[in-house]
Symmetry: D2
Subunit: 358 residues, 4 copies
């Protein structure tokens, strides 16, 4: 068993780490650390809101027993030598200084944006750009670190990049328009979205989100050259909104392809890709990497987000686009806290371990 620490364990993403590592066959979570405010408390006590008394635990299953009474460390007290791997669920500012201090010694898998746009840092989605993991070795050399920082993309990027990949491979993609309807849990839980702001409402803006998706999609789908990633030359334009849905980002996507496309062929391509995806034997991999609905009323976040425990990207409404000469449009659903975040990070850890990089 590899020893694991999670930094930022009490927030929405941290909670998913706690769930994803519960009874994991390869990884054992042995230390959790947080900001000074929570340090020294038992995990369940730190989850409780001091004003309302509500347990801020956001998961249909209860807090796993193994973690309930684990005392939270201060991040600066975590000794990297005791671990094989660190997962971080920090905000970007904290990640900026904390992640390198650990990467000096051991691999750090990060859900934060802090290092995603560095030249020698790949943005990794297991099954999509596994070959970019090689950039981690270059990073280690560049920085003279024993470890590395391996970030996941923003949770809104994940489903988009996953669904574009089989289309690019077969038909080529020129441009993409995407409008997201993002879930509340994507905003975290401290405090996250206020009920009065979102009830009976849509917020048409999420700070910095669109820029992240636009840049990350190109980098993920880009080519590794000797010392960095050459971004894919697709053009991407996004509008990102918040809707009153607890979990699961829905995205409306319009894609211009290089070659002529047909919805049935794209469906076939997606399912083929899903069937042969590289990571299918890893413990956290879903039975279906991509699932395509013919029912036009799907995907729906409440109905489809928990399929294969949130690790499947669900596609529906595949149809010919009416603007592009060559193009299709579709709707996708991706679980922002599972495949799009903590559980996707665990899958990445499994991939890296299978490549002997952990």
């Amino acid at each position: 068993m590899q020893k694991i620490a999670v930094l930022g364990a009490t927030g929405a993403v941290g909670q998913e780490f706690v769930m994803s590592l519960n009874k994991h066959p390869w990884f054992e979570l042995t230390e959790i650390a947080s900001s000074a405010r929570s340090a020294g408390k038992k995990y369940v006590d730190a989850l409780r809101d001091p004003v309302s008394g509500i347990l801020r635990w956001h998961n249909p299953e209860s807090v796993p027993e193994y973690i309930q009474d684990m005392v939270i460390s201060k991040i600066e007290d975590v000794n990297p030598d005791k671990f094989d791997l660190i997962f971080t669920a920090l905000n970007s500012d904290d990640a900026q200084t904390i992640e390198p201090s650990f990467a000096r010694s051991i691999p750090v898998i990060s859900t934060a944006a802090a290092f995603r746009y560095e030249n020698d840092v790949p943005i990794l989605i297991p099954g999509i750009n596994d070959e970019h993991t090689e950039l981690l070795d270059i990073q280690k050399k560049n920085k003279d670190w024993a470890g590395y920082i391996a970030p996941l993309p923003n949770c809104t990027t994940t489903g988009l990049a996953i669904t574009l990949k089989p289309i690019i491979d077969k038909y080529g993609v020129k441009s993409v328009f995407m409008t997201s309807l993002q879930a509340l849990s994507g905003a975290g839980r401290s405090p996250g979205v206020i009920a009065l702001d979102i009830m009976d409402n849509v917020i048409p803006y999420i700070p910095k989100e669109e820029e992240k998706v636009q840049i990350e999609t190109k980098k993920i789908l880009g080519k590794l050259n000797q010392r960095s990633i050459l971004p894919n030359n697709i053009k991407v334009s996004c509008t990102c909104m918040r809707v009153p849905v607890s979990d699961g980002h829905t995205e409306s996507v319009f894609v211009e392809t290089k070659d002529p496309v047909d919805p049935d062929l794209v469906k076939k391509e997606m399912l083929n890709f899903s069937k042969n995806v590289s990571i299918k034997e890893l413990p956290t991999a879903p039975e279906d990497y991509i699932l395509v609905h013919d029912d036009p009323t799907r995907p729906q976040p409440r109905v489809d987000r928990e399929i294969n425990d949130g690790m499947t990207t669900v596609v529906g409404r595949l149809r010919k686009d009416t603007v592009f000469e060559n193009g299709i449009k579709y709707v996708l659903l991706s679980h922002n806290e599972k495949m799009g975040s903590a559980k996707g990070a665990v899958l990445l850890a499994e991939l890296l371990k299978s490549k002997k990089m952990i």
Copy 2:
């Protein structure tokens, strides 16, 4: 005062007619008619759900006194000779047979889709394509009717066509991608959307909606020739979704223009258009035809839908598009039951009356 009848007075749109005609300076609603099920009942009694006992009245203000005890007629008993104008809020199948039977005698302003796609029928948005009203005269001649059928567009088309108009006029538009986040009231109230279907959810499909918006936008923005409308040659692609919002359709729009554009100039163009819109002196016209927010978190449906009593199209997030060489993107909000439906129909009636066509 012109005498008015409303056909289909108990549904969501019918209720807005009842509100919009309350104390109207030019129009007096003197008869309401509905399906056989409601006929013979007082208006308030017909609004009450027989199972739950709930009054299905969907408006912050109470049922106006003038209408509470008005007895609902059977549609086939309505005598057109007693009226100057008929408003209809029928479903499309009923409209198909009922509307012509009245148009033989008097003008019919319709919120139904039944005749929108006929050659000699314009789709009218007051302030956008007033010149298309001339087609009503051709229609009268063609059919040898004393009246005509004048339909409004689908409620999702309204805000899109209104915001495209000033851009087309100045910069030309080549293509449009639109994703809508549509309100519950757009699905009507009998029964409309079931709570269990939409709570914590998004439904990514509204039957026939996308086709309507795609066709209607082109027709509304088209050119009147001698006997029909030549559709505008812009290309339009839509994905229409339902979200848990009571009123107000939010739309994410990406526009490719012919000429180079700039968000500030587009804003100026929109505000200019708004300031000089043809219908601004009519009783139901809003103070602002289009309103443009600089605050990136706007428009929000709950916050902005009631501005100028739901007659204003609210735009926000105007910014340069990142795919099109010449293009912008924005978010719009349009009140689907007010400007997008009954109240827009009353505004159209005012326009037609001011043109002596009623």
Copy 3:
């Protein structure tokens, strides 16, 4: 395996029957029947709303494979001789005529109210009033039937009667005030509660609900005498409301006891009762019949309703009452479609079978 038919299989309760009987160790669902409207269709096709196209399936898990393509019979075509037991999820009017026609031949377990208040009909909650099952034999003789009608209580009664039982047994109960906050699924799904009626709202009235709870609670907790149930002489007063919650009825309960009580002792009594409940070895029985939270923010419907797959009554906020000389107050949560309805009916069938009454 006993052969089972479900009458009324497409509604909310019918769907829970379908789930509860999936891979059941003793029962095999071999026929489903519904109103003429659905008859002749495959089960999944009958679930689809004809207007919106949405699959009206209300369960986090998918429609089980065994039932997807089963063709729905007309109720009048169901041959009782082919079954050991009938479950009904009919509305009360239909139940009135249909249930006796089957009870003539075989046992009928009903979720409808039609016969609950007959002298020779018990209202059964497995684990609470198992001895009332004897009244079914009297019923059979009275009616000269081979079967019987065994109804469950209204879903709002279930949790109340379950939590009162241990208090009555130990301290005696004089009077009860209960206010319910009932879930949407309790109103069924055809059409059930309209989204526009309940969003950002509470409906303070559910037709006939309060009378049902008041009468049923006394009957369930009453004494079987030779030919009927002598109702318990507790007094009960209820106010029943609908809230925007999908599943799980929350109830605020104030109880006046005969003897002095103490919250800690009541908790102990409840847990003791739970531990020793009669039905704990049956296949559908939960691990905890009653669960008592010390955390004052519990029970919460979204968090606690699925505990033990909805078969546990969850209690919290147990504290001394401030009005009654002897009294306590608490909040309870009961899953209205599981323990309170279809799944509770399956548990009842198991109890009856274990008593050789099926």
Copy 4:
């Protein structure tokens, strides 16, 4: 015009003060003060959430122009000599030290709980216990202050006390059981209730709320003796819950009376009381102080909360209780931020001014 300052102007209650004092005929809001965090900012800028950028303004109408650019003072910089009256919307801890420092010089009307339970402090609801205002003079003498602290009750107490008053006056009241379904805005807005905590949920606990309602109701309905209030000897027991409703507290009330009662007579009594209520000529007083619905589906918070701009207590479901020998039960709705808070405070100020106490 009397000069007014509001302390704590940016929160939910503070915002209602800003609205209630907009164009007030007697009062002019000339200074707003807040915590150090907001001080020095313009009002609209202080309302904006620093993370999401959302304007935390919770009112269908826009921020009034008169206040938009008003710069927020530090509370300690507010000079009481410049004002005739201070309104406070502080949390209880801050109120504890800040309110006396102002009451030394001028009247302070408070929505905080800090001083409500002091002997020489009345808890005032205009129209219910106007005679308790005399205690303010005693308070001034006791403390040797030029002003006084006059607190309103907790927002959940207001509707309960208002509806009990006419029943007490006519029939006497022995005991009351109340379960509240409280709105989100009652929890304030910094941060208030988190969307993920309350969506599809009920929280059955609000810290300290029940104790407040139980004590305050008795004090408000008590008798003034020479130096304090002798609490009414009614017994009160409450359970307070949070529901996913934006505004408007719904309360389910069971009342045991001394004399026999009848729902029709209670209705008459309430309407009579409403008609003759002392404060009806004051500027902020509603047309109906109490409104009683015969429609059993009312009151509903979304439908009824804005009646008379939130100043009316709306009653429905008046019916005979089934437990008490003499008793009734009903449901009430009270706008927690208007009559139950800031706007009720303005009404109180009007009452005190009309009594020459300001």
